[in-house]
Amino acid sequence: MSGFANFGNELYTGKRSYEFVGSKKIWFLIALVGVALSIIIPVAKGGFNLGIEFRGGSEFTVSNVKTTDATVGEKAVTDVVAGSVPRVANVAGTTMRIQTDKLTDDETLRIKEGLHTAYGVTENEVTSTFVGPTWGADVTKQALIGLVVFVLLAAVLMALYFRTWKMSVSALAGMLVTMFITAGVYALSDFEVTPSAIIGFLTVLSYSLYDTVVVFDKIRENTAEIDSSTRRTFAEEVNLAVNQTLVRSINTMMVAILPVGAILFIGAGLLGAGTLRDLSLALFVGILIGTAATIFVAAPMYAWLRQNEPDLVKQARRVEQRRSNTAERSASAEPAQA
């Protein structure tokens, strides 16, 4: 604790400083690699594992099963429809849910037969339905429209509040990195994409921008009168602001991630597939990446976007000048004091 308080103090005074802006090339490279991987992974895996909510299909429900072994159900389906990829999940205790792509009536009957022998239940305990998507194209379309409108309005809001569009661009860049990597990790986990996961993504989206605004507000404060200051260059001020808010970033991330982590642990560990697991995985990854993206992507990108502005180039030159003057002065001052 004492160590952490001291850590905060040193970050505040600038005694301890991490090169978030200075080493931006490394961070951007890491972010780009992360985004590239996040695009390659789902493509290599043949797209996202979309839930029945999005695609519809046939669904079998087997109650009071003797074994919750998923492979039993998979085999029962592949025996009938070779080459199909059934998705078998254990739902709350002794019920198995088997979802497949659309089947013919004959296939449905044979799979039903196979399931009832494989799981050792009576014929009445296997039911089948053909269901369409509950999350249809209309829901997706409206959600996407909403998303685009929100992102545009948020960009305008930030540009107005911070009085520079470059902060909006940087914040959106950080948000995009967060979204891509979160989606990539989700694809890697092979969890089904369900409406809960989408809700999680939307929360992450809003969290990511939120987090960036908090840090950018400190940057705005630190660089408000950069023109009349010769203490630090613009990039250094940005870096100091990020360092000064680092304790806040860590604390906020911890407080946000602790409940999510608890849900993820209980959801994935004890309950298996379901709302809690899907939602909390998206959130867990998203909050971590979102916090990091603000620090490593959004803030350095803002400094980078502005560093070539003529005023700031002049200011940087003045800082240089002052520094060399001071160095000379202290060199000449030494003998006088002694």
Partner: protein
């Protein structure tokens, strides 16, 4: 906060917060006593189960429904369900023929009616109207006086449509005792004899209507508003606005041109020619038959006269939701159990509890006694959120799904962030050597901006998604907005006033080492440390320099006289030029 007295700033705000919570509790208690609300929040389909309705869509003309029409049917039902609150219904298709609607709890009659409400809407010109009751046998027109068509009808308003059979049907029709629904839809190319059912304000009327002129599918949207008077001032009369698409605009222009001639010919306002009326027909029943007072060329007619807010809204909803040539028939309606076991909710709540506990431990570890302020603030936020959910469950049919529960647990993080931003600002101020009271005030001034700007992002997301998106996303947006507002209320009305009060206690004010605001631990260096002892440039906290130029200049001014003299002396000793000294400022 400037309003509060000098002695106990913040106390008044805290009292106001108490008043708000008490008022919300009273509202909820009132609703519960009246039997409409309940103390426990309403649960959504996945946690509580509900009612499943299987609807068979019927297309005009009796042909089979195709995929596009089925999707259209799903969209229209989703729109209707969303229009009735934020219940997060589940809507899907079954066997490529039916629409399955699952609603949480037991849907009210109004909701059920809204879902199955037919959507066969169109506009027909009125040929003849009369009082709703059937004409008594003895006073019916004798055989030879029946209207006889003299020529083929030239247009939909031509009275040559009225054949003796149709006139007899009109006479016999009894709108006061409406008969059971007709099994078959009327033919849009033939005239129709039908009723406008009686309402609270007007008796039943019966009509002979011409063939369909404009179809309901030509309506883009509809709204209702208070009518504007001639001077543009808002009157007390409600009006319903319709907006047609291109095809509808052209047709409606043609119709109103013809109907308006009847209106003018009959003597305008005082005239009484039924042929000046056009009837809005839903499900073969007239829902309204306004007169055509003007030629509508822009496809945006306004219907006025005798509306109350409710009837205007009802008509507007019917026009908007009825604008598709599909009607629905309920095939089965049955109870379904929760899709998620109670175990999922219990585990979710357990997880939330564990998460909260971890947050408490972390806060106390990080902020010591100040952590209790965080915890108390979270409790207040929790109480506010709970009250809001319970009340909105009553008024807006807001229901908590498992995703919603998880969303609220997750919101803990964002709520706590407001406090963290604030506390860190106070610590920054302390590091600069301020006393706690002024550190709290200055820290708040700066934290307030950040909190407002960042919460604006969340609120924007909530608003946009709520109004644009449908289904689950809409429920999510509602939860997001709710928690963001609760958060703002708490940080403004609880956390800050509480800190204002605590800053004046000895424990916090003197920076006890467990207060979390101990200046020594924060590496603060007082601005003035007694006579003759001044800070040297080295131990002046570097953060003062770290500030922007304005703050630095202020810090410069805050140097004690002794400090300034010392600095000047050093500068002279160093033999530095005047320009360098200036630059240092």
């Amino acid at each position: 906060m400037a309003r509060t007295g000098p002695k106990k700033p913040g106390l008044r705000v805290l009292v106001w917060l108490g008043v708000i919570i008490a008022a919300l509790t009273a509202v909820l208690a009132g609703g519960t006593v009246a039997g409409q609300a309940s103390w426990s929040p309403k649960l959504a389909l996945d946690l509580e189960g509900g009612t499943q309705m299987i609807l068979a869509p019927k297309v005009e003309g009796g042909s089979d429904i195709n995929e596009e029409q089925l999707n259209q049917a799903v969209a229209i039902i989703r729109q209707r369900v969303d229009g009735s609150g934020v219940a997060e219904a589940e809507i899907s298709t079954q066997s490529g023929r039916n629409v399955v609607v699952s609603l949480p709890g037991t849907p009210s009659t109004a909701t059920r009616d809204l879902i199955q409400a037919s959507a066969d809407m169109n506009f027909r010109p009125v040929l003849l109207n009369g009082a709703g009751a059937a004409v008594p046998e003895e006073s019916r027109a004798p055989e030879d006086q029946l209207p006889k068509p003299t020529a083929a009808p030239a247009n939909s308003s031509d009275i040559n449509w009225i054949t003796p059979e149709i006139y007899r049907e009109f006479e016999a029709l009894d709108c006061d005792n409406a008969s059971a629904e007709k099994a078959e839809r009327s033919d849009p190319t033939k005239p129709l004899v039908t009723c406008e059912p009686a309402t609270d304000t007007s008796p039943a009327i019966k009509y002979i209507l011409g063939p369909v002129e404009v179809k309901g599918s030509n309506i883009v949207t509809s709204s209702f508003q208070l009518q504007q008077g001639a001077q543009g001032a808002v009157t007390n009369d409600w009006a319903v606005n319709i907006q047609f698409n291109e095809e509808g605009t052209a047709k409606f222009k043609e119709v109103t041109e013809r109907l308006n001639q009847f209106y003018v010919a009959a003597g305008g306002e005082s005239g009484n020619d039924p042929k000046a009326q056009f009837a809005i027909v839903l499900d073969d029943q007239v829902i309204s038959a306004p007169r055509s007072l003007a030629v509508i060329t822009d496809g945006r007619p306004q219907i006025t006269g005798g509306f109350t807010e409710q009837t205007a809204k009802a008509l507007s909803d019917q026009l908007r939701f009825g604008a598709l040539p599909i009607s629905f028939e309920i095939q089965s309606e049955q109870q379904i159990s929760a899709t998620l076991g109670g175990e999922q909710l219990r585990m979710g709540l357990l997880a939330g509890l564990i998460g909260l506990l971890l947050v408490v431990v972390y806060s106390l570890f990080q902020y010591r006694a100040l952590g209790f302020v965080t915890i108390a603030s979270l409790v207040v936020a929790g109480v506010l959120t709970y009250l809001a959910i319970a009340i909105l469950g009553w008024t807006e049919n807001y229901r908590l799904s498992l995703a919603g529960v998880a969303g609220i647990i997750v919101a803990i993080g964002q709520t706590a962030d407001s406090f963290i931003v604030y506390f860190e600002r106070i610590r920054d101020e302390l590091r600069e050597g301020r006393g706690l009271v002024s550190a709290v005030e200055n820290g708040w001034k700066r934290a307030k901006r950040t909190v407002l700007a960042s919460k604006a992002v969340n609120l924007l997301a909530a608003l946009v998604l709520y109004f644009v998106a449908v289904g689950n996303v809409r429920g999510f947006a509602f939860t997001l907005g709710l928690t963001a507002i609760a958060d703002l209320i708490v940080v403004f009305m609880f956390t800050h006033p509480t800190l204002q009060l605590l800053a004046r206690t000895r424990f916090f004010g003197e920076g006890h080492r467990f207060s979390g605001l101990d200046p020594k631990r924060l590496g603060a260096v007082p601005l003035y440390r007694g006579a003759g002892r001044v800070r040297t440039p080295e131990d002046r906290p570097a953060n003062v320099r770290a500030k922007n130029a304005g703050a630095a200049a202020e810090a410069e001014r805050r140097m004690t006289i002794a400090e300034r003299r010392l600095a000047e002396k050093q500068e002279q000793l160093a033999g530095s030029s005047k320009t360098a000294a200036k630059e240092n400022k």
